[in-house]
Symmetry: C2
Subunit: 443 residues, 2 copies
């Protein structure tokens, strides 16, 4: 400890440690750029992932490199920021210290922004059969399964088995599920239309399963209805009020009210539930802070912890209500605003000035449906169809460019849109081949 | 057998089976497009890989999707061509049949174009320590190792160990080795220059090891010398007349004449030897055809087999000499010309017309050194430096566009060149973290 305080004397500038380089952590780091603090950003990955476009990687429209930017490159201009590629194993709040996968790091202020991971509601055995969409690896695994399914269908001689390969079930009607189902519909109806000789990809069945009575439940009811109609027009079979009861082999059992039905499929994609990352549990154990039932940390109105004012939690990991008592949603704009807010808060404390509690400024929500339709809900306006899609495109260009000048990514993607091409539909990873029960004889 | 001949009666159009969708197989398939034959193209991958740019994926300049095109998409316009995603397990030349990973396929003509894989000259245990660069997965593994090495060096407190992380050894001075070493030099000298706080990436040591007395041995001597000087100017340590003696843990032993020296490194990249794919061995066992010492198939002047005129071997898998008695090199232009030739040959036979033996038209060789230099050897002209690089760029744009309209890929890449950015330097795959012996304490 003596060692530490002598080091602190030599380093009078306060040390802020940020864990997690998602939207919350990265925006906090950027806001600290060239400010009178030393910042260490720790992440398990060496890149920031532009998650709103991850469904495009999963469906073969973009490559991982198109939607990821190296954290070091984004922050290289700020000499007061150090990026560390490591994993946090433990938090010692009394000593203001983190234990990493290798080594340790001491902090004066700590910002936790480690986000969420998938949650299978107690059915953890589903994880292998129904991959979720959170990481680059997730997206490549989903891509592998989607494109292998068509390869298998092309080779399979048995009609029922072929239909199972051409049946896709997306579980969860939130923005990710809607965007995945819409992209799958476009892929099968347009992109792959002429690519096979023994199957007709537009005949693929795409199910979207949602437990409550409408998809996109965080949007106005009117937009939910319009989104549902749009998906149906694209050929997606939307099942609301429907729960996934079981998953055995290739058999999916669905429950709708008293009715139960079965589907045969080889491809189930999970977009239903998330749970806060384990950092929340460590924090709760070590500081006594309460967690909500999804593992999110119950923070003060300024996003700090009740007994540890130097620890902040932001983004999807934080549980905070807005002025109307509504829980703030786990979306990028909330995380970004929270990231910037804690920077103001910490810099304010260093100057002994007080900062008002965090207040979320809702700039609206957006979700894409297929190729050139979207739903958008702004404070006073709801948009739908092409105008909403255009708003969506504009917002995404704006943020992608802010990071890494990825204008060309958007250009490339626009090109794919107009030519209906999908540039990145590679099957990589293992196993390279599906198991085909009755291979078609080729003479 | 009766079944088969009745099927053949119902299908009077001859069935050509092509194995391998590289430059040879794909150009053959395209040349058969809408011709009076039925074609089945079999590949283990669902995409054609533009291998000359693979070193760009390995060094974080491009994504796999940028240099790969789905075989189905390239060939979807030709109704007489079927693409099959499968692996060939055996060849039954008497029955004109292939056994696949699943199912079988009968042929009237067979074109084998399965290429080569790495070869460690009897040191197969080196494969894990020194990955080669042939597949997308190889490139991503090399990319992972390169960028993890810098992350580890940044975290490592011990100077010697840090130097080992910042030492890169490229084995093999052919075009792939030269391009890898040049790209590594650019990466460390320019792209990563400002990204770290505890290390200075331009201090990284990059060794290029070549067993004979000059790099790029298939080029004129003058260009070898110029390429060597260019690499040295970029900071690459070029060791000719040097053999890799052993590889133990992180220790590399090199032999130069009587001298032996040792290096400590965590990153060794293999660009030294290739050997024909196992299809050659199967073919030899089943047809008695001779193989050369690298496993290549000794073909007739028309690329067919001595006793099986309906079987052709093309590309890197074929051993054929030109009119001067020189072995044709394993490069894309040879494979492409051979692919087109066998199509003429087969269509000629169907029309009972004879086709002259294959003759390679040498259009020159190209290799890139770093960011905007190259060496180019055309029939009468040798180019060097920027003009050669420009020629290189033109040739690659030409072929990339021919496949998939990838003009935007080249634009993006040009953008990276001018901004010195590297857009795809993601660490993906396992393990996600290096083992750091003495982690630096961060306070």
């Amino acid at each position: 400890m003596q060692n530490k305080s002598s080091l602190q004397k030599n380093n009078p500038v306060p040390h802020v440690v940020i864990v997690g380089g998602g939207f919350g952590g990265l925006y906090a780091a950027k806001a600290f750029g060239n400010k009178p603090v030393r910042v260490t950003l720790i992440d398990r990955r060496n890149f920031h992932l532009f998650q709103p476009l991850l469904y495009q990687v999963a469906t073969g429209g973009l490559s991982p490199g198109d939607i990821a930017s190296p954290l070091r490159a984004i922050l290289s201009g700020y000499k007061n920021i150090t990026v560390i590629h490591a994993e946090v194993r433990d938090i010692l709040p009394g000593e203001k210290r983190l234990l990493l996968s290798d080594g340790e790091v001491d902090y004066d202020f700590l910002i936790l922004a480690t986000g969420v991971h998938h949650h299978y509601f107690g059915n953890d055995e589903w994880v292998k059969q129904a991959p979720g969409l959170k990481t680059v690896e997730d997206a490549l695994e989903i891509r592998r399964r989607i494109f292998l399914a068509f390869e298998a269908a092309e080779r399979e001689a048995d009609a029922a088995e072929r239909e199972a390969w051409m049946t896709f079930v997306v579980v969860g009607g939130g923005p990710t599920g809607v965007e995945l189902a819409g992209a799958l519909a476009e892929l099968t109806r347009e992109t792959l239309k002429k690519d096979f000789r023994f199957i007709h990809p537009p005949e693929a069945k795409i199910f979207l399963i949602e437990a409550i009575d409408r998809i996109l439940p965080t949007f106005p009811v009117e937009l939910s209805r319009k989104a549902e109609k749009s998906l149906q027009k694209l050929g997606v079979l939307v099942y609301t009020n429907t729960r996934l009861e079981s998953l055995t082999g290739n058999r999916v059992t669905l429950i709708r009210g008293q009715e139960s039905s079965e589907l045969q499929t080889h491809t189930i994609l999970w977009a239903a539930g998330v749970r806060a990352s384990t950092t929340g549990e460590i924090l709760s154990r070590k500081t006594g802070v309460a967690l909500d039932r999804n593992g999110r940390v119950m923070v003060n109105p300024d996003l700090s912890l009740p007994n540890f004012p130097e620890i902040f939690v932001i983004g999807d990991l934080a549980h905070l209500k807005d002025q109307n008592g509504q829980l703030l949603p786990g979306i990028a704009p909330v995380a970004m605003q929270e990231g910037r807010y804690v920077v103001r808060c910490i810099l304010g404390r260093l100057k002994q000035t007080s900062v008002a509690p965090f207040r979320y400024r809702d700039k609206g929500s957006l979700a894409v449906i297929g190729r050139n339709r979207a739903v958008a809900s702004f404070r006073r306006v709801n948009l739908f169809g092409f105008p909403a899609w255009f708003a969506w495109l504009f917002v995404h260009i704006w943020y992608l460019i802010e990071f890494d000048n990825k204008l060309l990514v958007l250009l490339q993607w626009a090109w794919n849109y107009f030519t209906r091409k999908k540039g990145a539909r590679l099957i990589t990873g293992h196993p390279p081949f599906p198991r085909i029960k009755n291979p078609r004889q080729l003479t």
